[in-house]
Symmetry: C2
Subunit: 339 residues, 2 copies
């Protein structure tokens, strides 16, 4: 077992929260104590404790067999608690983290300054913090006498935060599709409850949900986040049509903005747009999709419709999602500059 | 980190060799030394060292930083080597194994008797050896003073050896399909090199390859194992037709038997049959498929054909296979007795 093995555990955990951390990057961390894995955690939601902090708290709980009595996701409380531990508590610990610990004080205190005070034996990370003005974590750690290594599974760690990096320059476009194992979409519910909940979590963090006019008319969707009890996303209906049946449920949801039009110019702005639709939207966005997320349901079906489009993709990650399988892919229908 | 975590590592490793160990069961093992993971291994091929043996050898290499100088897959040499280590060498080791260590002396010596002499601190396994006359491993270990726990991830460990269990009573039928992400099959090469190699490895261990007559006529395949330099499988062409174009390459491969007919009675016999074909064969075998293996290729395509059939499946495992993703599913188009 080596650096790669421990970093892979951190990556696998982080992928569970891919894009759910938006506008933050997705980050995972593994903690070892004298070679024994004592924690594998990931950042889960912007504004809450970072992966390193959650992992150190979990390591504390594993080693002491005690549970902390505060909300672990409250970053300020978590930092205070870790800093209140006896000096040298983490002296025999190694921390693997997919991204360089942040040197930037944002909604939460800086992890690099926290670590420089906790002084774990070593910190191993995948990629340098690529955000301008956010670097410098590595120097802080080294100044504190912590052994630091970088570049473990660098490419996989970079892919993990690709949505975050793109979203800072222009809109990151995720096209979500639910299909049967033999590629049928539409005509009734396809995916399972866990996939529906996951979609609602993505809707809750995206800047906007983009949907095709046909899908709106045919499916008459609500497009809310009711399964996770979160506010609904704003909607952009991609259509030339100007008159709409306002009894379609999505129009009746409180607290959302609905825009309708056939311009995709807003995708030039930084942000994260989730797209739901079928073949028509895939073609309309052929040159603009960044990633796809396929929920594959465990059935083969003959009476639902296929979809046709030609493009190469690249599989990035696969995971179970209840009875379904989630497949994250990079869309290679186009090659964008500035990647 | 707990029993489940370590057993899951063993399961994940074992799935890499699913059915490639035929006629042996697929088995994985994880070794810890004082809480540190020092080996994760799996049984790879019938007649070679079992998972426990490979894992203990790897643990030895990790801990001593030395490599053994013999063929690890030679079970006799491996057992002899492990028995030659100083008494008590493994006293601080924990062994996780998906299946109860065998008490049966077959092509290789019994793992239970080996372990009862090596005396690791504890052995934790998933399921009891279900083969009549093969049990008793647990008693041997306990008599030797080894702490034994059983039943960790029992259901997942049972699924792992389902093909092995079925193949002892009647033919285990694996239907293999290569498709694009949007479910298109046929009309040119779909999957990548790693998937082709994997298929050839399955062909090399199956008792027979079953293929539809249409596929033979349209694709004119060789159906050999050239990518892994192994002997070709025997073939059964499912067809009513009696005259065949013998220039179709599969007929010209040395060292194989080719049978043609429209009876599937041979599937009642114990064994493992790999099926390759399209929609027609899926329908013909609708009530007889046990599992499917889908190779998903990272592309969406419009000019290849869809396939239609109605059935529920259950996803069992997903893994990368080069640029493709492999999806193992249980076919629920029927319910067989005797599972």
């Amino acid at each position: 077992m080596n650096d790669t093995f421990y970093m892979r555990l951190a990556l696998e955990e982080a992928w569970k929260y891919q894009l759910l951390t938006y506008p933050n990057p997705t980050v995972g961390a593994t903690v070892l104590h004298k070679g024994r894995i004592v924690a594998v955690e990931a950042h889960q939601k912007a504004g809450t404790s970072h992966a390193e902090v959650l992992a150190l708290l979990a390591a504390y709980e594993t080693m002491t067999n005690e549970s902390v009595d505060f909300d672990k996701f409250d970053a300020l409380k978590a930092h205070d608690f870790l800093l209140s531990l006896p000096a040298g508590f983490f002296a025999e610990y190694s921390l693997y983290v997919t991204l360089e610990p942040c040197a930037h004080e944002g909604k939460t205190p800086s992890c690099a300054s926290l670590l420089s005070r906790l002084k774990p034996k070593e910190v191993i990370f995948g990629i340098d913090d690529p955000v301008e003005g956010h670097g410098g974590g590595i120097e802080r750690l080294r100044q504190a006498g912590i052994a630091v290594r970088r570049g473990v599974l660098e490419e996989a760690c970079r892919v993990l935060i690709e949505p975050f990096l793109i979203a800072q320059k222009r809109t990151f476009v995720l096209f979500k599709l639910a299909q049967t194992l033999n590629g049928k979409i539409g005509g009734g519910v396809i995916s399972g409850k866990a996939s529906h909940r996951h979609t609602h979590r993505l809707r809750a963090v995206c800047d906007r949900l983009l949907i095709g006019g046909n899908t709106v008319r045919e499916d008459r969707p609500r497009l809310d986040c009711r399964y996770i009890d979160a506010p609904p996303p704003d909607i952009y209906i991609y259509s030339k049509r100007t008159t709409w049946d306002k009894t379609i449920p999505l129009f009746g949801i409180e607290g959302r903005e609905v825009n309708i039009g056939d311009s995709l110019a807003f995708l030039e702005r930084p942000g994260f747009v989730l797209v739901e639709g079928g073949e028509g939207m895939l073609h309309a966005l052929h040159d603009r999709i960044d990633w796809t997320l396929h929920y594959l349901s465990p059935k083969l079906s003959s009476n639902q419709i296929s979809y046709n489009i030609d493009t190469q993709t690249q599989f990035l990650h696969h995971a179970s999602c209840g009875e379904d399988v989630m497949l994250w892919s990079r869309w290679l229908g186009h090659r964008k500059t500035g990647r």
